[in-house]
């Protein structure tokens, strides 16, 4: 039986999202088998093709072995001890209205789930455990033909679109966690931007794990039709518990000719306590496909949470002149283990990619950048530039960099640079001599170190990310 961690230690005080919402849940039994897969599908009222799709993925999953090549140590995961579906129960007599407890939860998290004038700049899909509980701003988007809804709803209402694109970037057979997700995914967001439309507001999904022993398996699919544009933001938190919870998500992005997708994540899952107890296992497959010419996909991530991160947002650059970007800040503290990076697969001619990765390790944590740049024979004049920097704060942490560069075209140019060093004594000394204390000086230097990535975030989000980094640093340094 898992318990909430006692709130006595510093780190838990930092993690202000570590509370639990006391809400009645509609949950299914622990464990995983074909009946559970059918049950999830039935609960969501899915058509037969979706149930079959899930079952095929489940059967394939049974033939796979869990990957262990990442730099992460953790005890074996018992997939039968997790609950694959948990939804806040609808209140009797008030269908369609959000439970006040739930609304309060998102209020505490700072997520606007009620339509409000002040936050008209963002449309939000809020996912609580296994289901989407609210999606805002829908009418405004609908006027422009933009579909933004929960994945469950999309499967019911826009079956043909979903069927056309689901699994077309990350097939269910892609890897162990992708197969698992394809079998049991519960909710997530679906976005469809029609031809020539520039989405007027930021789209956003907020993921919250609340229930005990529950895994979250969300699935997000974004399709940008030719010459369209969308900026999307994702945020995540979970209560502080002494058990490890599994989060295995899939995000698929499809950019058609001339389309642009900007995808930003601030991942702040519960990271476990100072001794490494509890925390989320964040095993995520994120991939974008620049399918059309001149399309553009950009991933920006700020990874400050989760006990273990296994995540490589990638771009397949198939369309001629398409562009892939990856900007990442990964901050690890205490016993966190982050193994993250990207893959840029250059297929089309004149495709370009940029990778900027900043890793900051403190405490006893391990922070690994793992990346691949692959230039296929037809990618004439392809171009990649990679910059990976690691900063070490403290003597017990580690930083690893494992890039792989495969060049199979004579006109392509790839460049990779990486540095690893401790936080600069000289810079610290300079700032301290100007009257800043060590914490403030460190925060300033780290902020500067990450600036290249943070400037890629939408403004409100960047402010949030900087605050989050400062908060995390405060008790990791000194």
């Amino acid at each position: 039986m898992a318990h909430e961690l006692p709130g006595g230690n510093k780190l838990l005080q930092d993690y202000k999202f570590g509370f639990v919402t006391d809400i009645a849940a509609d949950a299914i039994p622990l464990g995983l088998n074909e009946d559970i897969v059918r049950l999830i599908s039935a609960k969501k009222g899915e058509p037969g093709w979706m149930t079959d799709w899930r079952l095929a993925a489940y059967r394939h999953w049974l033939t796979l072995r869990e990957p262990h090549w990442a730099r992460a140590d953790y005890p074996p995961i018992d997939y039968q001890a997790s609950r694959y579906y948990s939804a806040p129960r609808q209140r009797a007599g008030k269908p369609g209205e959000m439970d006040p407890e739930l609304a309060k939860t998102f209020e505490r998290l700072g997520v606007p789930v009620h339509e409000r004038g002040a936050l008209a700049g963002v449309a939000v899909d809020a996912v609580f455990d296994s289901v989407s509980v609210a999606t805002t701003q829908r009418e405004r988007l609908k006027q422009q033909g933009i579909i933004f809804c929960s994945m469950s709803e999309a499967i019911r209402e826009h079956g043909d679109l979903v069927r056309q694109y689901l699994g077309s970037v990350v097939p269910p057979t892609d890897n162990f966690f992708a197969a698992l997700n394809s079998a049991v995914f519960t909710d997530g967001s679906f976005c469809f931007i029609p031809r020539g439309v520039r989405c007027p507001i930021e789209l956003s999904t907020y993921f919250r794990i609340n229930a005990i022993s529950t895994g979250q398996f969300e699935r997000t699919l974004i399709v940008a039709e030719p010459e369209s544009f969308v900026s999307y933001i994702e945020g995540c938190t979970a209560p502080a518990r002494d058990e490890n919870q599994l989060h295995a998500a899939i995000v698929e992005l499809v950019a058609l000719e001339g389309a642009q997708i900007k995808y930003a994540t601030v991942q702040n899952w519960f990271a476990g306590d100072a001794g490494g107890k509890g925390g989320i296992y964040n095993f995520v497959t994120k991939r974008g496909h620049c399918r059309g010419a001149r399309s553009r996909i950009s991933w920006t991530q700020v990874e400050v949470g989760a006990a273990i991160t296994w995540k490589y947002p990638s771009v397949i650059l198939e369309g001629a002149d398409s562009v892939g970007e990856f900007y990442s800040v990964a901050f690890t503290h205490d016993r966190m283990q982050a193994d993250t990076g990207t893959k840029m697969i250059h297929i089309g001619p004149r495709t370009r990619s940029t990778i900027v990765s900043k890793g900051i390790s403190t405490g006893h944590s391990a922070n690994t950048y793992r990346g691949m740049v692959k230039i296929l024979p037809k990618a004439a004049h392809a171009r990649n530039h990679t910059q990976c920097d690691s900063m070490l704060i403290g003597s017990q942490c580690s930083a690893n960099t494992f890039p792989l560069i495969e060049a199979r075209n004579a006109t392509a140019i790839t460049e990779h640079e990486a540095t690893t060093s401790r936080i600069s004594e000289e810079q610290l000394f300079y700032l301290r001599s100007r009257g800043l204390d060590e914490e403030a000086a460190t925060a300033l230097i780290v902020h500067g170190f990450c600036k290249e990535v943070l400037k890629e975030l939408p403004m409100e989000f960047a402010v949030e990310a900087v605050k989050l980094l400062e908060l995390k640093l405060e008790h990791s340094v000194g």
């Binding site: 090549w69 690691s390 003597s395 942490c397 560069i405 495969e406 990779h416 540095t419 690893t420």
Partner: protein, 433 residues
Amino acid sequence: MHTLEPTGFDLARFDAAALARLSAGEPAAVLSHRAAAFELFSALPVPAARDEEWRHSPGKLFPCAAFALAAPLRASGAPPTADWHEDFDAVIDVTDETFSLHNRAGSLDILPLAEALAALPAGVPQHRRKFAALGQAFWTAGFFIRARAGAPVRLLVNWRFAAGGKLHMPRLVVAVEPDAHLTLVERFQGLERGTTSISKDWKADAALAVIGAHEFHVGAGATLERVALHEWHAATICIAEDAAVVAERGRADWVTAVFGGRAVKLTAGCDVAGAGAAAHLSGLYFADGTQHVDQRTLQRHSSPDTTSHLLYKGAVRDQSHSIYQGLIQAARGAVRVDAYQMNRNLVLNEGARADSLPALEIDADDLKCSHGSATGNLDPEQIFYLRARGIPEAAARHLLIAAYFEEVIGKVSHAGVQERLRAAVAQKMETLS
């Protein structure tokens, strides 16, 4: 293009019976060294295609089992045969299964490895790698070299093996004593200089296999300058494991050049293990035809206040494939470390392939480690500039390639070796338009 199936290595023939046949009549001390290495070899798993290190170099490229193990070396008393022997204080000539030794240096000891092992009190340190252990157990051509403090000495080792279905296993154990200075040039040649492209009906009995395991102990304040020149003919497969340990204030300068061979897998590991120790690793490789050149380097910093600097430059043309894997490791507590690693690749035509995997593994905080990797073709602007000065395009390309490699060639102190490297680069460019 290599589309070979990723099958494992067939190493079953390296069994206890084979070891007993090889070592029949050797002194007990030698047997115990071989037995210890064999025990380790047997305990280590066979590299599989799934292993990151061997993913690009499957066992099928290295069909070791198709070759008969060469007989141990015997002395021939022949005069030195090499081009540059007058520049060296000592020369070891190995021709197939015979050797001759010529040593004019007072501060240099050279012994056949069997004699030296019998005299060495302690076991040689073991490297927990499959092919290093194999080389330590089954070496057929081994020497022990000791440089004592005194005037700098220069040693040339010519390894010449004929094609003929044999597997040769060279092994050097080199001790550079405190404050000594040794320059070692190793030239690896296949006796038949074949054509540069490999015929499809490649047969083991017309070919040659080499598995080498060298180790180098550089003492306090000592310097080892080493050049390894791989000029194998086109039907050679070669796996070599080189490991060095550098003590405080010691210095190792390595240059590895690879031109020949059908499939080559070289590992060069250098541990800067004492304060003030420094390692400079340089590499030059130029592959053509369907050559497969896989190199792995390790810069290990097991001690604080150490330096390592690496520069590997390569070019691939035709259907060849090069792989460079580099790792910088800083052990916990290895502070004030300065490590740098740079890999550059020229991909000269469609169909050629260069893979680069530079990696950092850092467990200490007070240090500065960086690496870089750049892959591309020649700069069109530079070609344009030269053409605008009246130089034909092919000549311009040749000039730029020669200039590209000069950075590494310049790190070799011996003028004759420099010339040899330039000639080898020129030869590779002969048919390049």
